[in-house]
């Protein structure tokens, strides 16, 4: 297992805390192997019980803390990194599943059924999220942290350096945009389903 260099990690973390997003990406790459292993292991173990992604990410971070690779006070920042790892893993997972049953060509989508949704296509979400990242990277990041990372508003606020109420507003707007974008996709690709 790649053993992240803790001095580098700390410096990168410091830089990230000061707003350097490149430092965040470097840190992610530094820890990714580990994060992915932890997350994937949890995902496998999870099959028959009901940990949410939030739990999984938390657990991954707890393990890192236990390995003394990060400090407890940096928890929310590492939750953010784990959220990103989780996003990649879940998307890969969903894509793999989709390719397995390609011949069905069935895409389940966000539809309003009795006021609540059916399940939907993760691949489609990922596409929409990438697009949102181009239009408004801050909002895309919040979605990543909240939806994939299961982080609280408070934790997200800490990571992105904004107030909780701002984060909350941004999340609401981003969520509306994504839901709309995914519905649009359905309309466009109606011949698909």
């Amino acid at each position: 297992m790649q053993q992240p260099n803790s001095i580098d990690a700390k410096q990168l973390l410091q830089a990230w805390r000061n707003g350097d997003t490149q430092a965040r990406d470097a840190l992610f790459n530094l820890l990714y192997v580990e994060l992915r292993q932890v997350s994937a292991a949890l995902l496998r173990a999870e099959r028959n019980n009901s940990l949410s992604t939030g739990d999984l990410v938390n657990e991954a971070v707890l393990r890192l803390i236990k390995l003394e690779q990060i400090e407890w006070t940096d928890k929310s920042h590492f939750l953010a990194l784990s959220a990103r790892a989780m996003r990649r893993i879940l998307i890969d997972h969903a894509r793999k599943k989709n390719s397995d049953k390609r011949h069905h060509h069935k895409v389940t989508l966000v539809t309003r059924v009795e006021g609540v949704s059916q399940r939907f296509d993760m691949d489609l979400l990922e596409k929409s999220l990438i697009r949102l990242g181009v239009i408004d990277p801050d909002k895309a990041e919040i979605v990543e942290l909240r939806y994939f990372g299961g982080m609280s508003l408070q934790e997200i606020a800490e990571v992105v350096g904004a107030s909780e109420s701002t984060v909350k507003r941004q999340w609401r707007v981003a969520r509306a945009w994504l839901l709309d974008a995914m519905t649009e996709e359905v309309d466009v690709g109606s011949g698909y389903a």
Partner: protein, 797 residues
């Protein structure tokens, strides 16, 4: 950046601002802001619509669930699954239709993933299920049924509520502050109703509070919303730190802070969640100072500062609406309840924390009951409710908390409340059979709490006995009316047994005990011939009464008969064909073996007593190997070890005596740890230490002997200080002093030996004057002590 992207950015910006506007004005506002940019208007309106669509997608941490692909089961019990409603942390909720029988019913079916619920949570649910099913309130979604799928996943069938989370509904409907408060009040009345039925919701959040299209608010998922962290199953493949996981995944914002530390849910944690819910509900309507005060009070971090009951919260909401001063703002706390809390220090003990909630709930109900009483015309429904509640408390709740270490004090306070209530019930001269049965059962339970033999108790034997007499009286009334009611006979046999035991052990009235025991035996024998006897515990009562008979014979100093009876019963048991759990039979065999050995040891047949006692100890070890924490079996084992130590000692088996005596002390201390204030367990420790001192002085270490005997005396004196009116404790001290004298003398501490003997004689004399000595004690002990005083030449100095 493309033109399309720019448009999207503008749309996002405008949407952000639009959401700050009142929901009804948004469309107009957007059109006004966007001017003639039709593309922008259409984009923002589409986004607004997406925002308004209540949607389970893209929820916090929802990624994994959305990516999951567990297929729904076809059916759950009599319900056919017709669609999915949503997924949650513990499982998924489906829509189901009941298609069997004449009627069609649509329901929400919550299926829990296998392994999520621990056995203890399932057990709790089983206990609460009937109460949950009986929870009938217009604002509570009914629980219809529950069960397990073929794969073992538990499921719950609930009323299907087609609604939106309350906060979203209120926004959509454009409710003002007043209407929001009123809607919130409805939820509070629902929670109050549940608390009065001893049900705590555990997870009040906007997503569990739905509003239907017709505007009715409904609480869903009562009592099953969330497992408590230590009820989470430990799945072997799951991450090791399930506990840390549970606290991290704690519903952010709505769960009371003490729960994050692992405290179980109670009514006060529900009140906290209600406070947080109100906060969320009014967040876009800057609350006035009164509303803010109510929120702060309900959602206070410190439990003691919260409203003591949902009633108090509702009262404040009413104050607010009617213009009265709001209690929360006065800064006043509910002094009485707080005092109650500090008096009981319940809040300090996590194990009893749930009880705070129960007391709160119980207090509310009894308060209402009393108020109704004052009015002299309480509704029959209320009567039934209070009766049911009291029954639940004294059976289910009692059972649930009885074995929580340290719960004695909490139980004592709760018992007082129920005791008053049961007296009220019994006072009715026209009470029907089932009410009389309730009175008997509850008085019997209460009697156990106050001074039950062999169970952790408050050491108040007089109240305990008085309660048994009340139970006996109620059953006499019942049996006069219905002499062949086997259940009443069954209960009466039990009461007789407890009564005989108390007469024997506390009142030392052997004649009365013998009489009561014989009455009980006759009743059992008659009962066993009646139809329906199979459904009762009369078989067990028979054996219980027989063990009592042997004990009473021993106390009456008729050892010969006692030993013979014990042997006869052992043989009969060994040959019995009654089908029962092997462990039970083993335990009963062990019990008679112990009595036989005890009788032989008491009559100084040391060598003869060893085999039956060793048999008993071995049998209890076998039983305890399966259940190491069993209070009862530890107690029984200790009772067998005690005479065994004496027999080894007298038979000159020093190593065995030392080893056995240490084990007996260890068990006694374990029993005491469960409840350090329990008089009985403290006395056990003293008794075993006393023996240990004796054994050490003869075969072991001088210092160990001294320290054991002095600790034994110290415990005896402290117990007497705590319970000065129980003669038995003084008797015990007299006995320990006598042993202490032997130990001191053998260690060459002559004057200390004499002091101990004089003190022992003083106690015995006082007890004799108070007629608190048994025949054995008067005829054997007193002369023994006199003889020792003479032997040690204590009088000549």
């Amino acid at each position: 950046m493309s033109e399309a992207d720019t448009l999207e950015q503008q749309a996002l910006k405008l949407l952000t601002d639009a959401l700050e506007q009142p929901s009804t004005d948004r469309e107009d506002w957007v059109r006004k802001q966007a001017g003639d940019n039709a593309a922008l208007v259409s984009r923002v309106l589409a986004l607004l619509e997406a925002d308004g669509s209540v949607n389970a997608a893209l929820r916090t941490g929802g990624a994994k669930r959305d990516a999951g692909d567990a297929p729904p089961p076809d059916r759950a019990g009599p319900y056919k699954i017709t669609g999915m409603i949503g997924r949650g942390g513990m499982g998924a909720v489906y829509k189901g239709e009941r298609d069997s029988g004449d009627f069609k019913q649509i329901a929400a079916i919550k299926i829990i993933w296998p392994g999520v619920l621990s056995d203890s949570l399932i057990a709790r649910f089983e206990r609460e299920r009937q109460i949950l099913a009986d929870l009938s309130h217009p604002n509570i979604a009914r629980l219809f049924d529950g069960g397990a799928l073929p794969d073992g996943s538990p499921y719950f069938v609930m009323e299907y509520v087609d609604g939106e989370p309350i906060t979203e509904w209120a926004d959509t409907a454009g409710l003002g502050l007043d209407d929001r408060l009123w809607l919130f009040r409805d939820i509070c009345t629902a929670v109050r109703h549940a608390h009065q039925n001893l049900i705590v919701h555990r997870d009040i959040t906007p997503s569990n509070v739905l509003v239907t299209k017709s505007g009715t608010v409904k609480l869903i998922d009562f009592g099953i919303a969330k497992p408590h962290s230590d009820e989470l199953a430990e799945v072997s493949e799951a991450p090791p730190s399930a506990k840390s996981l549970a606290s991290l995944s704690f519903t952010p914002g709505y769960g009371a802070p003490e729960r994050a530390q692992g405290a179980p849910a109670n009514t006060l944690s529900d009140i906290y969640s209600l406070g947080k819910l109100l906060e969320a509900l009014v967040q876009n309507h800057p609350p006035n100072a009164d509303v803010a005060a109510i929120i702060a009070r309900a959602a206070a971090d410190n439990m003691e500062e919260r409203y003591a009951s949902v009633d108090a919260l509702i009262e404040d909401l009413t104050n607010l609406r009617t213009g009265y001063p709001v209690e929360a703002r006065a800064g006043g706390t509910l002094y009485k309840f707080r005092k109650f809390l500090s008096r009981n220090r319940l809040a300090m003990t996590l194990g009893t924390l749930a009880l705070v909630g129960l007391i709160g709930a119980l207090g509310v109900t009894l308060h209402e009951y009393n108020r109704a009483e004052q009015a002299r015309h309480y509704a029959a429904a209320r009567f039934e409710q209070a009766r049911g509640l009291s029954k639940v408390f004294i059976t289910d709740v009692y059972d649930a908390i009885e074995h929580i270490p340290g719960s004695l004090e909490a139980r004592e306070n709760l018992a007082g409340i129920v005791k008053d209530y049961v007296d009220e019930l019994a006072a009715d001269p026209n009470a029907p059979d089932d009410v009389l049965m309730d009175v008997a059962v509850q008085n019997t339970r209460l009697s156990d709490l106050y001074g039950g033999l062999g169970v952790a108790n408050f050491g108040d034997t007089e109240t305990s006995f008085a309660l048994l007499l009340k139970a006996e009286e109620a059953l006499n009334r019942l049996l006069e009316r219905s002499p062949d009611d086997v259940h009443a006979i069954d209960e009466m046999a039990w009461v007789k047994r407890l009564k005989a035991n108390q007469e024997m052990s506390y009142q030392l009235d052997m004649d009365a005990a013998r009489r009561t025991n014989e009455e009980g035996l006759a009743l059992v024998e008659r009962g066993m011939t009646l139809p329906g006897a199979d459904e009762t515990k009369l078989f067990f009562r028979l054996w219980n009464s027989r063990t009592d008979r042997v004990k009473i014979l021993m106390y009456q100093n008729d050892y010969e008969t006692a030993i013979a009876e014990a042997r006869r019963y052992r043989d009969e048991l060994a040959a019995s064909e009654y089908e029962e759990e092997p462990r039970r039979r083993l335990s009963r065999l062990a019990y008679f073996a112990r009595l036989e050995g005890e009788g032989l040891s008491d009559t100084q047949h040391w060598e003869d007593s060893i085999p039956p006692l060793e048999y008993a100890v071995k049998a209890y070890d076998e039983i305890l190997a399966e259940n190491t924490a069993g209070y009862y079996y530890n107690l029984q084992k200790m009772a067998a070890l005690s005479p065994l130590v004496m027999s080894y000692l007298k038979a000159g088996k020093g190593d065995e005596a030392l080893q056995t005596s240490k084990e007996a002390v260890r068990i006694a201390e374990t029993l005491r740890e469960g409840d350090p204030k329990d008089a009985a367990s403290r006395a056990f420790v003293a008794t075993q230490l006393e023996m240990d001192g004796r054994v050490e002085s003869e075969f072991g270490d001088r210092d160990a002997a001294l320290s054991a005997i002095m600790e034994a005396l110290d415990i005896r004196r402290r117990v007497i200080a705590d319970f000065p009116d129980t003669a038995g404790h003084r008797r015990d001290l007299a006995g320990t002093l006598k042993t202490a004298a032997i130990v001191y003398q053998s260690l060459g501490l002559h004057s200390r030996a004499c002091d101990a003997l004089h003190e022992s004689m003083g106690e015995l004399t006082a007890l004799n004057t108070a007629k608190a000595l048994t025949d054995v004690e008067r005829e054997v002990w007193v002369p023994e002590v006199s003889q020792q005083i003479e032997n040690y030449s204590c009088l000549s100095e």
